[in-house]
Subunit: 210 residues, 2 copies
């Protein structure tokens, strides 16, 4: 077997250097560079950076929200697990309501998925939050529908990274076309996932290795 | 906003139908078809199926092991979270040692990553297990080095899906070139990740929606 690199910090550094050498970052604003590089790091695909869509200032807004103590609302447990707690600047709450007791019955009553029903339970935490969708298109769709009501509290930032074949493209296109006044970062197309959106959250945090 | 599909079962069915219509499954043996389709489902990329490498009978072996009660050894918490417990046929243990107390000190002493050190703690569970690596190339490299010792108990199946730019390609090439007599499924190249390998485990389980 060949020798291999065993130094975690060196592996990180080398990985980020490879991404920067291969990816086109010219279109990415300075406040989103960390997000772009870390999302590419999470998936092994530098060209994912070409698929990023975002509103101006989204990175700075997200970083300020996180420093101000914003909770992070995750659509599934994998996203919550992927967030490196040591990077969170304000011991931010990481909330996933998907497995909360009422969700199954709510989904039946609302005639929708558990992922969408779980978003209803975000309401008390929504104001100023960081929303991290890394799995379910229906979660993002339902959030956007909730935000169509001007009374719904606004998140500080929506990270839209649902993945897949049914609704993923459409939900992210809807977010990019009309984010209901909320700053956003998303990856267009079918690609996405919990590792990518957790990497985006981690990029908004402080320097730490976890 | 456009109408969108809210029926989880229908979304699954439609997604799998899209994958089957777009992907080339001709090269995939029958016992790996579910794995191939579910891995493609997890990442939104039907062409990931072209990157699968495997030993003959790996799917059937993995399924039998799982039904026989095999523990599932995961290299990170995201993999463990991605495994749908309702699909496991024998209430199989899902084990992740990455955050076990001794790991940090072991990594220092072994001069390697925490991910690799954590694999040392798999030894008591290794015989007949399903190994699911979805993050760290160093975890897969260290496992292969352990298996170079003929005294090391053999897993039933290695699912090799580490992701990234440093060591991911090399560790999976090493697995495919010499799996130390252990059946394996891997995705060659830089791509991989916790969602893909969790999907592969879920594909070996029984039919259930989670």
């Amino acid at each position: 077997m060949h020798a291999y690199s065993r130094d975690a910090h060196a592996i990180y550094r080398q990985s980020f250097a490879i991404i920067r050498s291969e990816a086109d970052l010219s279109r990415i604003p300075a406040d989103l560079e960390d997000i772009a590089v870390r999302v590419a790091h999470a998936c092994g695909m530098p060209d994912i950076i070409d698929a990023l869509v975002f509103s101006e200032g989204a990175g700075a807004t997200g970083r300020a929200a996180l420093e101000g103590g914003a909770p992070i609302l995750c659509d599934c447990r994998m996203v919550a697990e992927g967030i490196t707690r040591a990077r969170l600047p304000a011991d931010n709450a990481v909330i996933c309501t998907l497995n909360d007791e009422p969700v199954r019955a709510m989904a039946r009553e609302m005639d929708t998925t558990r992922s969408a029903a779980a978003v209803e339970l975000w309401r008390p935490h929504l104001a100023g939050s960081i929303v991290a969708v890394g799995n379910a298109p229906t979660a993002l769709f339902h959030l956007l529908a909730m935000l169509d009501d001007p009374e719904t509290p606004r998140p500080a930032l929506i990270l839209g990274f649902p993945v897949g074949y049914v609704g993923a493209v459409e939900s992210k296109d809807e977010l990019a076309a009309n984010s209901r006044g909320v700053p956003f970062v998303a990856v267009s197309g079918r690609r996405g996932g919990s590792a990518m959106v957790a990497a985006a959250v981690n990029a908004l945090g402080r320097e730490a290795h976890g």
